[in-house]
Symmetry: C2
Subunit: 253 residues, 2 copies
């Protein structure tokens, strides 16, 4: 069995703990948490430590902490030449202290504290400094996910920017839709099936093929009516910019 | 059985034909199509006409044509005081010729030609000039959908603008994410589970509660790194505007 230890007690750490606990191919050796009590509802307290010098031997140490803390945590580890990985979409591999063999184990998902996830469908993006460590990470990732990718730091950066567009910005557009509904006494519920269908459509169509609407049709009458309707300056600016971007789409590609 | 006739042969018309054909409570009397052949693969040719004077008696005539054609089509109808509705999200009820009793039967969904839809989950927004006609429309809509709403023309306008944000603009952001991936040799496939999860999240959380990411955290280091990464002017402008909008969110609400 491959021995894994996790350093951290936040959302990603907890979801990984859960995934490894119910895993016949992985031994979850230990979890490091500054505050031991934060994890005692998930783990036997003997498996949790808040003292780096108490960390036991493992094949991989997964640092699942906030981006800003990765460098500091990796420098605190009291051993050398072990496989140490972080779970961040934005931090380069080289941010990890070079006294250990470095890697990245990045699950590309939006983890909510209270929402269970099916890890099988979550892509895990791996990076390592040598082939053998990559294989170890691949073996571990494959026990929890059916979608494992090898992605270098430069690709991971692009992926994270793209994820901001399709996740953070998309959710913000949902919020704008919700505000327009609220301000006009329309239940936002009505839009939820459309939101689902919009996401489902691109499973089988490219986003470019799936594009519909007044901007795509260049329906200037509707666009003008919408612009007059939107008295909020922020909504109006975003409407205009995204409409123009869709209209220019054919020209650009 | 309530008798329904459909005028039109486009996507919405075809999906309605399909929904009414397999419906024990509705009799699909006739479909009007300028080109009869466009529908003969769906219907017995006796049920299709391209001559307005051949339209038979029905309880409701559903005009499912492009927005621009609704006024013209409704004025061509060779009868008076019948219930005539259109299916548009943007056109006011009053665009229909006033010689008939007017209404709206607006299925809020993005219909693709080749993609089957489950009508049961598609919200249908109804409007009518009197209570009895509204009841008739409600009875018909309820046979094909579990989500029937009464929405007046002003609310429908808001709903359509909101739908542009959560459907058209969201899909355009998917496309931007896809381009960023393509340009950096990353498979767009990796992002699809995140896209699904983003849409699924707001079934149980409000979009405001579901918001995550560097703009929400006000993580200026990551935001600056992303802005440097985005050399395309259009992507960069949209990134900056949506980031600012998320950052300002707390202040506004």
């Amino acid at each position: 069995m491959t021995k894994v230890s996790i350093i951290g007690s936040g959302n990603v750490a907890r979801h990984l703990i859960h995934a490894f606990q119910s895993n016949s191919e992985i031994e979850l050796v230990q979890v490091f948490a500054r505050n031991k009590k934060s994890l005692t509802h998930l783990l036997d307290s003997n498996s949790v430590t808040s003292d780096y010098t108490q960390l036991q031997a493992a094949d991989v140490y997964i640092i699942a902490v906030s981006d800003d803390a990765i460098a500091e945590v990796s420098s605190q580890l009291p051993f050398e030449n072990q496989l140490v990985v972080h779970t961040s979409g934005t931090v380069p591999l080289t941010t990890l202290e070079s006294k250990n063999r470095r890697g990245v184990f990045y699950p590309l998902q939006t983890f909510s504290k209270d929402k269970a996830v099916n890890f099988k469908t979550i892509p895990i993006c791996l990076e390592a400094e040598n082939e053998k460590d990559l294989q170890t990470l691949n073996q571990i990732a494959s026990t929890i996910s059916d979608a494992v990718y090898q992605i270098n730091s430069e690709q991971r950066k692009a992926l994270h920017v793209a994820a901001v567009f399709v996740n953070n910005f998309v959710n913000h557009l949902y919020q704008m839709g919700s505000e327009i509904c609220d301000n006009n006494n329309v239940p936002f519920e009505i839009l939820k099936p459309l939101i689902q269908e919009t996401a489902n459509k691109i499973v089988s169509l490219s986003p470019k093929e799936a594009q519909t609407g007044p901007a795509k049709r260049n329906d200037l009458t509707t666009i003008e009516a919408h612009q007059q309707f939107l008295t909020d300056e922020n909504l109006s600016t975003i409407y205009t910019l995204l409409t123009q971007s869709i209209q220019n789409n054919g020209k650009k590609l």
